[in-house]
């Protein structure tokens, strides 16, 4: 925001003549409008990609009819949801019923304020940034419980209680892994955390202290999945057990708000994970940080967050839903002990004074791991393509008829 302020000050004559409160309010309003547009339009894209990924993973083709390759399908869905009637169930607490989705969306949107899209591309560079994210994203839990309570529906209440239990449990391992990063950096500001990883791929926290930080990343990512109620931890809205969980009774616009919040939260968790572990807005190599005068920070953050969002979708269409007891087992008996262990180990490593002659493990371990991962993915892709080709040949030999094009 201070960048925008400076820009306005320099380029708009008379801006400095305005009263002080307007000088703060105008850049704040511009930032807010930009962010809200970004956040509100984002889910349209996420839902489209989700349906497409789901389709491809199940050997279907996903939306195809509305717009080129079905690109306008989610737009059509959103418009449909906007114009649907909002139904208030009998016996519902109407005030809470309306307030709940707003609060959920608020919780999801407020985290965006501190996510850095560039070294100076952050709306509010809070010195307690990561703490703020943790605090604000818990706000949506309140909204979920409100929704469950206000709906006057037992399934909604079940969903809300499950969601509360889940988020409260998973917040702890997530925060423990955050703590390791905070100990290494010595700052809670997301911008400082990103800058501490400057210098290239091998400096990313994912590759530090080799076996430790990747495990921390896995824990954080798993806990993040659980916190935004994504599969395999989507028990709050388990459609085969509870009708739709906390949003059973919601329809129309308020339902779409829950949808919006879910996908925004996905993006927030991914963006925070990429800032913490994958260098945030930093490029894999400093050369790629900028193309001519154009800074690419926003692109790299967006790219990494999208990669993680894709992994979330990938997991959703891979894994079955965990049972409630399994969920609690994972949180309290697996993730939390490991995270606590990591905190102790990283604390010790940070306290240990660095000797000038020590072997630079960071530099020589991060790269091979990256190469291994990329190589694994690449070979998996090639093998998948070969497998498909051979399978196609088998299908061709069996003489199953191929579809006939009738009209387009």
């Amino acid at each position: 925001m201070d960048v925008l302020w400076g820009f306005l000050n320099q380029n708009l004559s008379g801006f400095s003549g305005l009263p002080a409160w307007l000088q703060t309010a105008i850049p704040a309003a511009i930032c807010g409008v930009l962010l809200i547009t970004f956040m509100a339009l984002g889910p349209i894209l996420y839902v489209y990609v989700e349906t497409k990924v789901a389709g491809f993973m199940q050997d279907r083709i996903g939306p195809k009819r509305v717009g080129p390759h079905g690109m306008l399908q989610t737009v059509a869905d959103a418009v449909k949801l906007m114009f649907k009637e909002a139904i208030y169930p009998a016996g519902a607490d109407k005030k809470l019923f309306i307030l709940a989705p707003c609060l959920v969306v608020l919780g999801a949107f407020m985290s965006f304020v501190v996510i850095p899209f560039g070294a100076r591309g952050v709306t509010a560079n809070l010195n307690v940034g990561i703490f703020y994210v943790v605090a604000v994203s818990s706000l949506s839990t309140v909204g979920l419980i409100m929704a469950g309570r206000a709906s006057n529906n037992k399934y909604a209440l079940f969903g809300a209680m499950r969601s509360a239990a889940q988020i409260v449990s998973y917040e702890i391992p997530a925060v423990m892994t955050l703590l390791t990063i905070v100990m290494i950096v010595g700052s809670l500001s997301l911008n400082d955390i990103a800058m501490a990883q400057a210098g290239g791929l091998h400096r990313w926290f994912l590759f530090r202290y080799f076996p430790i930080m990747p495990v921390a990343f896995l824990i954080f990512f798993t806990a993040g999945l659980a916190e935004c109620n994504r599969a395999p931890f989507d028990i709050p809205e388990a459609e085969s057990e509870l009708v739709a969980g906390f949003h059973t009774e919601y329809s129309g616009f308020f339902f779409s708000l829950f949808f919006l919040a879910e996908y925004t939260e996905m993006f927030v968790v991914s963006a925070v994970a990429s800032v913490l572990f994958l260098g945030g807005y930093l490029a894999p190599h400093p050369w790629l940080q900028q193309v001519g005068p154009l800074p690419l920070g926003w692109f790299w953050l967006w790219f990494k967050a999208w990669g993680l969002v894709f992994v979330m979708m990938w997991l959703r269409w891979t894994l079955p839903r965990a049972r409630v007891d399994q969920l609690m087992y994972i949180a309290w008996k697996v993730l939390l002990p490991i995270a606590l262990g990591l905190v102790v180990i990283v604390g010790g490593l940070v306290l240990k004074p660095r000797t000038a002659h020590g072997f630079p493990w960071d530099r020589f371990v991060g790269w091979p791991i990256t190469l291994l991962v990329v190589g694994f993915l690449f070979t998996a892709m090639v093998r998948a393509l070969l497998w498909n080709r051979s399978r196609g040949r088998e299908l061709g030999d069996s003489g199953s008829p191929s579809p006939v094009q009738v009209w387009r």
């Binding site: 491809f56 083709i61 891979t318 697996v334 998948a384 393509l385 008829p401």
Partner: protein, 175 residues
Amino acid sequence: MREWLQNVWEAVYTVLVGMTITWRHLFTKSVTLQYPSEKWPLPPRTRMRLFMKYEDCIGCGQCVRACPVACISMKTEKRPADAKPIWAATGHPIKLDVTAFDIDMSLCCYCNLCTYPCPTFCIYMTPDYEFATRNLTEHLYRFAKKDAVFLTEDPKKKAGEEPKPGASPAGAAGA
């Protein structure tokens, strides 16, 4: 402790296995058939909607008797003696006026039994399966026509020969 570690390892490992499988399917050709625009070719002799060619029906009623679900109903009247002789395409003389020939496709069980006894092959199954309607009564197909144009010449007779008026062409019936 050992068991716990084993469980954790198994969880991580099996998730990776599952992810490899879905990753593979990400690049598989989809099996979706875009139905209204693409269709599977139907096998030969597909039994779908019944059709009856009214101009060829001699009103023998064998299809009505063959139908196990009684979905065909037919009314015939004796053709007046002074009426112009008409023939079916197979050469069978038409001696009965078929005043009504209704097939209720909502009753039809697609057994194809009606088409075998037909001497003139005028009733047959077509490969048309897209005849869903909003109203069940629309499945009642009426095949009798008032303005049907019949063959006034015996198609089995050689060209140039005079048709015998009023006579039953015995050769055609035997063939």
